[in-house]
Each structure stands twice: as structure tokens, then as C-alpha cells.
């Protein structure tokens, strides 16, 4: 590294104070970023990566503080500057691209005024010139028709467009350092790639240093010159991206590399002989319309004649971006909503024929596992009563037998028994998802519908849950309908796949065929957008 460092963290420790307890979350972290360089801070939730980034820009929550160490921007320590001195630096020398584009813009102000704000704060004198600069900036970050955009409100823009606006704000004053905190994790994969390309282009143009905070090692590998791997507030390993991929030194890095589906060498599930008998799920020409509220009965077609079959004991994936109709299909298959037309047969039963109590009894056959394990468990119930509840719904099992059954499932999903009495909020995300799976399995269903069931989990936890699902399928002969936006995961675990785009199936078939010979441009785009291509198959 011959160039001088723009940002240098030297032995930084950060702690949070909660009531009277001081908890240190970042321990002795040191790294530096030179101009034009991208350094990725990689870690799972709770690793301290966001805290570190917040400390750099002086935006730690009120109860957080830098205990010791120096954060040097171009050689001056900014770790203990007053907020007023920091105000002069933030926006002009360091800027932030926040994580969630939907909540980071003020909904009641126009795009133009929000971009102009940063210019007006730092250059209050030439407001007229600032207005012109706003249009120029919006054009520069790739927004079409910037003259129109300045007058629009955030809700009129898509997620990707909003993120472009936030990037325009971040680069407005050509800062020396941009902190990008998970800038694309709320976006669809194809959008994600374009946004990352944009950040990369702007970096090269102005020779900006970029601190890229992410949980996704594959994305970091594609974009960063160097990686800093954090775990529990400690640096596990740092160095050149290629060097780390060639020879990871810490065990934790090796595990991350092994668990990231998009980094794993491409492998497909071995083709298995199709189990005989009735297929688990048959969907024929499924159409689902929604009536739009307040528009005089106007209809929106969420799913447009989609058909697929899931043979017994296999995994079928439904892949698509947000708004593609994949969740709508999942809900129709479990019988939460009646299709506008078409047929859904589960385990030989046509759902259209089921009403009332028959429908209720049918629910034993098929169970849904939700994306968000925080929302799908009743916060007031203990884990034990969550798992026992489905059994109560189907009557006459004696209490002892019920408890034994719940306990067996609980052990089966690999949870330690001392968690039984806890409430969901006292569990980690992975443990909650195991509880949700246990609740789904306690009725001995034949089919499990997994709606983004691993998307909210950290990559190592995700790998554990995927392994668990694989074991359960083998042992219990379950069939899975796996709904996901993550092609890398689908490639790894599914037997067959349907690719959805705007409610239509654009590609379908065995996973290997679809991934190696996609028939539609859209599928090719999606596959192209899987991150982790720069450092393939380290094995």
C-alpha cells in the first residue's frame, strides 16, 4: 500500500451502556482504507460491523461511545470531535449510503429538495447553482428524466431508484470516503448488481475510498479490494480479497466461505428416482387476481396461468424478485386464498372442493414456514406451547402423549431442551426458525411450503437450517415447495424450479437444465446477477 490512507482505525474499542451495564461490542479494531480503494467489513448480525461504521461517521446511538483508539481521517483523529465539528465533515468529507432506501428518504419532501439539502448545508451561498447541480447529480447516478424526478416524492420511485437518489446525496460533495452500509440488501438481485456497479463507477471517477459494510461475503468478494472479517466485535482476519479466498487463515472465514451458497462450487442435487404415486403438489393454470382498492373494481393479475408439479419427496423451487407473485402462489397452495381460476391439488385433494371443517383437516397435510421467524411466532407463548398448539387443534390426544410428541419434534430440529420454557424473543433468529419448522412438522404433514424461510438468517445459520431441511426430507419423506429470491440457494438444494417474472412462469424444469440452459433473457439476467463470480470455487 503505497498510497496514504484516507481512513485509519487504530485499536478502536466501542461499547454500549444499558442502564448500569457497559457492554463492549467492538474490540481493538484496526484497519485502513486508501483513496480509490474498497474495503469490505464483513460479518454476521451482531458482529459489530454497523457499529464500527457508525463510529467512523460519528453517528453512534446516544448510549454508545468510543472507549479508546483513534479514527483518523486524512491523519486527524475524529473519534472524539464535538458534534458541531463533525457536522462540517459529515456529508462533505465522509458520507453514508444507508441500508434501507424505503425509510431513508423523507416521504413528505420532494426528491429534489432532499438532494439539494446537502448542497445548501455545505454551500449555503449559491442556491441557484445548487438546483442545477441536483439535476446533474440525479442524471449522473443513472436516473432517467432527472428534471421530472426532482419534483417527485419518494413513494413515486422504485426501491432501486430511491437507492440511486441516496447515492446522489452521498456523492454530491465528492467526499473522500463513502460508507455504504448494506446498500443493496433490501433490493432485488438484478437491481443490486446495477447499484453496486454504479457505486463502483463513481468511486473510480473521483478516487473515493469506500467502506463497504455487508453480511454477504460473495458480494464483498466481487466488489472489495480488501476484506475485514468481523465476528463478535473482533477482527478474525483481514487482507487482500484474493489472498483470503486462496488461503483463509481463520477457521471462521473458512466456515463463512463454505456456508455461502453463491461461493460454493456449482453442484446440483443428484437426480433421484421419482417416488411413485400421486404427486405432492399439482398446480394447473393458476390465476390469481386482486381487486385494487379504491379504483372502481380494477383488477391486478398477480399470477398468470402458472403450472407445475412437485413429485413426492422432492424439492421444487419458485424463484422470482419482489412482486413476481411467488408468495401469492405459496399462499394459494396452502389454501389461504382461493385462486381466481385454475386448480391446486395437494396430495391428491383438490383444494377447490374443501370448505370449512374439511379445509381445517386438510391443513394437517401441508404446512407453511414463513420468512420472518420474528413475526410468525406469538410473542406471548412459550416455545413449548407454540409447538404443542397444532396438536390441540386436532383434538383428543392425551396431554402426556402430546408433550412427548412435541418433545420428539423439538429434539428432531436440533434445539436444546432448556429452551422449551422460553418466549420467542429470548431466542436467536436461527433458533426461532427451528421452532417454526418444529411447529410445522408436529402434525406430520406431507408437504412443507417454505416461503423465503432462510432469507432472513445469517449465512452460517442459513446453512444449518438448509442442512436440517435436507435431513428431514430424507428421513420423513417430505416434499418441499421452496419459495426464494436467492438463486444460489435454489441451485444448491432444489430438484426442479419455476422462474417467475411479473406473475408468469418464464422458465421451468430441472434445476440443472434451467441454470445451464435458460430459455429466457430474464432467467439469464438473474443467473448473471448471482454474486461471487470474481473468485470462483476455491473449494
Amino acid at each position: 500500500m503505497t498510497r496514504p490512507a484516507v481512513l485509519e482505525l487504530d485499536n478502536v474499542a466501542i461499547s454500549y451502556r444499558e442502564q448500569d451495564i457497559v457492554r463492549r461490542v467492538v474490540h481493538d479494531v484496526s484497519f485502513s482504507i486508501a483513496a480509490g480503494e474498497v474495503v469490505a467489513l464483513v460479518g454476521e448480525s451482531g458482529s459489530g460491523k454497523t457499529t464500527t461504521a457508525q463510529a467512523v461517521i460519528g453517528l453512534l446511538p446516544g448510549n454508545g461511545q468510543v472507549d479508546h483508539g483513534a479514527i483518523r481521517l486524512d491523519g486527524t483523529d475524529i473519534a472524539h470531535l464535538s458534534q458541531r465539528r463533525l457536522d462540517a465533515i459529515r456529508g462533505s468529507r465522509i458520507s453514508l449510503i444507508p441500508q434501507d432506501p424505503s425509510s431513508s428518504l423523507d416521504p413528505v419532501r420532494t426528491i429534489g429538495s432532499q438532494v439539494a439539502e446537502i448542497l445548501d448545508i455545505h454551500r449555503p451561498r449559491d442556491r441557484a447553482a445548487n438546483r442545477e447541480r441536483v439535476i446533474e447529480l440525479l442524471g449522473h447516478v443513472g436516473l432517467s428524466r432527472p428534471e421530472l424526478r426532482v419534483r417527485q416524492y419518494p413513494h413515486e420511485l422504485s426501491g432501486g431508484m430511491r437507492q440511486r437518489v441516496l447515492i446522489a446525496i452521498a456523492v454530491a460533495l465528492k467526499p473522500a470516503l463513502i460508507i455504504a452500509d448494506e446498500p443493496t440488501s433490501a433490493l432485488d438481485v438484478t437491481v443490486q448488481r446495477r447499484i453496486l456497479d454504479l457505486i463502483d463507477g463513481l468511486r473510480a471517477e473521483n478516487d473515493t475510498a469506500v467502506l463497504f459494510v455487508t453480511h454477504d461475503l460473495a458480494v464483498a468478494a466481487d466488489r472489495a479490494d480488501r476484506l475485514v472479517i468481523l465476528r463478535d466485535g473482533r477482527i478474525q482476519e483481514q487482507g487482500e480479497t484474493a489472498a483470503i479466498f486462496r488461503a483463509p487463515r481463520s477457521a471462521y472465514t473458512r466456515r463463512l466461505l463454505a456456508d455461502a451458497p453463491s461461493l460454493a462450487p456449482v453442484s446440483y442435487r443428484a437426480a433421484r428416482p421419482a417416488a411413485g404415486g400421486e404427486p405432492a403438489i399439482v398446480v394447473r393454470d393458476l390465476v390469481q387476481d386482486f381487486v385494487l382498492a379504491g379504483r372502481g373494481g380494477e383488477r391486478f393479475r398477480a399470477v398468470d396461468s402458472v403450472s407445475f408439479t412437485v413429485p413426492r419427496g422432492s424439492t421444487h423451487a419458485i424463484v422470482g424478485e419482489s412482486g413476481s407473485g411467488k408468495t401469492t402462489i405459496a399462499r394459494a397452495v396452502v389454501g389461504f386464498q382461493r385462486p381466481t381460476s385454475g386448480h391446486v391439488r395437494v396430495d391428491g385433494t383438490d383444494l377447490a372442493t374443501l370448505r370449512g371443517s374439511a379445509m381445517r383437516h386438510f391443513r394437517r397435510t401441508i404446512q407453511l414456514v414463513y420468512q420472518n421467524p420474528f413475526g410468525s411466532l406469538d410473542p406471548r407463548q412459550s416455545v413449548r406451547s407454540i409447538i404443542e398448539e397444532p396438536l390441540l387443534n386436532f383434538g383428543a390426544l392425551p396431554a402426556a402423549e402430546r408433550a412427548a410428541k412435541a418433545l420428539a419434534i423439538f429434539d428432531r430440529v436440533g434445539l436444546p431442551r432448556d429452551l422449551l420454557a422460553r418466549k420467542p424473543r429470548a431466542l436467536s433468529g436461527g433458533q426461532r426458525q427451528r421452532v417454526a419448522i418444529a411447529r410445522a412438522l408436529v402434525l406430520d404433514p406431507r408437504v412443507l411450503v417454505l416461503d423465503e424461510a432462510v432469507s432472513a438468517l445469517d449465512v452460517t445459520v442459513q446453512a444449518q437450517i438448509l442442512r436440517l431441511l435436507g435431513e428431514l426430507q430424507r428421513d420423513l419423506g417430505l416434499s418441499y415447495l421452496f419459495v426464494s429470491h436467492d438463486l444460489a440457494v435454489v441451485r444448491q438444494i432444489a430438484d426442479s424450479v419455476t422462474v417467475l417474472h411479473n406473475g408468469r412462469a418464464v422458465d421451468a424444469g430441472p434445476v440443472r437444465d434451467v441454470f445451464e440452459m435458460p430459455t429466457s433473457d430474464y432467467t439469464r439476467d438473474l443467473i448473471e446477477a448471482i454474486p461471487g463470480k470474481r473468485h470462483p470455487a476455491f473449494a
Binding site: 396452502v334 389461504f336 381445517r360 383437516h361 391443513r363 394437517r364 404446512q367 407453511l368 414463513y370 420472518n372 413475526g375 410468525s376 411466532l377 406469538d378 410473542p379 406471548r380 407463548q381 398448539e389 397444532p390 390441540l392 387443534n393 386436532f394 417454526a436 411447529r439 410445522a440 402434525l443
Partner: protein, 289 residues
């Protein structure tokens, strides 16, 4: 010889630590809230054991002691029949408190039931219930409770029920809004998905997760009920004389307001302090949930 003082010292350290942890707990509770709880506790004590606070009869006057100002024999003075005012206020607590409890219970139960049904069934049922609630809210509370008393008859419990009915609409509104949002959560859908019947899911998931808002509101309603019950007593629609109900005390004292200020002031202070205490507590409950 040398052992004894050491052991004694050990005990004081233990005791000191215990006292310190209690003190630490008290320090964390805001003083205003602490005071509010003490007021409620005192009121409850007055209602349960009035004999602890006064030995005078609340209803029998003492000859020759009419309209005495507060002094050492009669701390709050006496009324026109020579009845001790302190005794009347103390014995009146039970009427006010039970009245408020009955009123809140009526409002909470009926309001929760209506709100739960409206929010979870939805559609026409929701519309029908909520329009009735709107009508109830549109009628002034006092007018509504007066009409109900005229229908039910006069008496402490009747007045309490009448006050309760005016709270039903507010409870129903609050609960319905909670139910509507809980009803849409994934865990409720998951409960239906695992074969739960409608009633069972409502009982096990929707109600427990939405009722906290109504419970927090119950404390505010408690203060309101005290006020409204006193108002009804004042207007002569509550307990009949010589019941020492607080509103009635104020109404009776009004005749002598020019000469015997204590007859209206002390029952009035009792009402105000209790209402403020109830409001302070509900504020803290609302903040925590």
C-alpha cells in the same frame, strides 16, 4: 468475646445490603408514580377498613357539634347534622371505588367483546358494531348515563353500570384497532394454518396480544369513572342520602358553601387526588406496553 461483635457486624452489612436494594428499586420508580400508587393503596385501605382511620359514625350526627370547622376533635370538621366529615369521606371511599370498578369492568368486558368481534370478523359485522359505537360516542357521556339511570333505577350499582356503558364505546374502538393489526400478523395466520378454529385462535392469540392496550386504558377510565360517578352523585342520580358518597357530599355541602367551606373542599380534594393518581398510573402502564 471477640466473636460477638464480628457476627453482629455481619448482620448489619447483610441488612444494609437488603435495604440498599429496596432503596435502589424505589429510586428507579419516578416519585410521582410512587405517590400515585400510595394514593391508590390508601384509598383501597379506606374502603376495606374504614375503622382504622376514624371512630365516628358516618351517618349519625353528634348533637351540638353541627357545622364545626376543622379542629383536633373533627379533623375535617362536621356537617349541618353534626356528622364527622373525615368519617364520611373515609366511609364514602368504598362507594366511589366499587362504583368505579364496576363501571370499568362493564366497559372493559363489553367493550373488549365488541371490539374483538368487530376487528376479527370484519365486513358487515364490523361496520354494524362500529357505527353503533360511533352513535354512542356522539352522545355526551353525562346525558347517556342519566338516561340509563332513568331506565335502570337509582342506586350505586345502577349508577356504576350507567357510567360503564359510556366507556364501552371507547374500549371497543381501542381494542378493535389493536385486533385489526394483530389479526394480520403471521403468527395468527400460522395458527389458522395449523388447523386452529376461529374461536380458538381469537382466544389464544388475538385477544392476549391486543388486550394490553385496553388494560392500559382501563386505568384512565378508572379516573374518569370516579369523576362521572361523583358527578351523578352530585346531581342526585347516584346513591340516595345519607350514603356518604363523595359526589353527594359535595352536593350537600354546596348549601353551606358560604359558611362551611370544608364541606365541599375536602371531598373535592379526595376526588381530584384519586383521579390524578389513576391517570398517572395509566400513563406509566401505557408507556411500558
Amino acid at each position: 468475646m471477640s466473636d460477638a461483635p464480628l457476627a453482629g457486624a455481619g448482620v448489619t452489612v447483610e441488612g444494609g445490603r437488603h435495604a440498599r436494594s429496596v432503596a435502589a428499586l424505589l429510586r428507579r420508580v419516578p416519585p410521582g408514580l410512587l405517590l400515585a400508587w400510595l394514593v391508590i393503596l390508601l384509598a383501597a385501605l379506606l374502603a376495606v377498613a374504614p375503622g382504622l382511620f376514624t371512630h365516628y359514625s358516618p351517618t349519625a350526627g353528634i348533637a351540638g357539634h353541627q357545622l364545626r370547622p376543622p379542629d383536633l376533635t373533627h379533623l375535617l370538621g362536621t356537617d349541618e347534622l353534626g356528622r364527622d366529615l373525615l368519617s364520611r369521606v373515609v366511609h364514602g371511599a368504598i362507594y366511589t371505588l366499587t362504583g368505579a370498578f364496576v363501571a370499568v369492568a362493564v366497559g372493559l368486558l363489553a367493550g373488549t367483546a365488541l371490539g374483538l368481534v368487530a376487528g376479527s370478523v370484519g365486513g358487515v359485522v364490523d361496520d354494524a358494531i362500529m357505527r353503533v359505537v360511533d352513535v354512542l360516542l356522539a352522545i355526551p357521556a353525562l346525558l347517556l348515563s342519566l338516561s340509563i339511570i332513568v331506565l335502570l333505577g337509582f342506586g350505586t350499582v345502577d349508577a356504576a353500570i350507567a357510567v360503564g356503558v359510556t366507556a364501552v364505546a371507547r374500549f371497543a374502538r381501542v381494542l378493535r384497532s389493536e385486533v385489526v393489526s394483530v389479526r394480520r400478523t403471521e403468527y395468527v395466520e400460522a395458527a389458522f394454518g395449523s388447523g386452529g378454529t376461529f374461536v380458538r385462535v381469537l382466544w389464544r392469540h388475538v385477544l392476549p396480544n391486543s388486550v394490553t392496550a385496553a388494560v392500559a386504558m382501563a386505568a384512565v377510565e378508572f379516573g374518569r369513572a370516579i369523576l362521572l360517578i361523583s358527578t351523578l352523585g352530585f346531581l342526585g342520580y347516584g346513591a340516595p342520602p345519607p350514603t356518604p358518597e363523595w359526589g353527594l357530599l359535595i352536593a350537600e355541602g354546596r348549601n353551606y358553601i358560604a359558611t362551611a367551606w370544608w364541606l365541599t373542599t375536602f371531598p373535592g380534594i379526595a376526588v381530584v387526588v384519586l383521579v390524578l393518581a389513576a391517570n398517572r398510573i395509566s400513563q406509566s402502564v401505557g408507556k411500558r406496553t
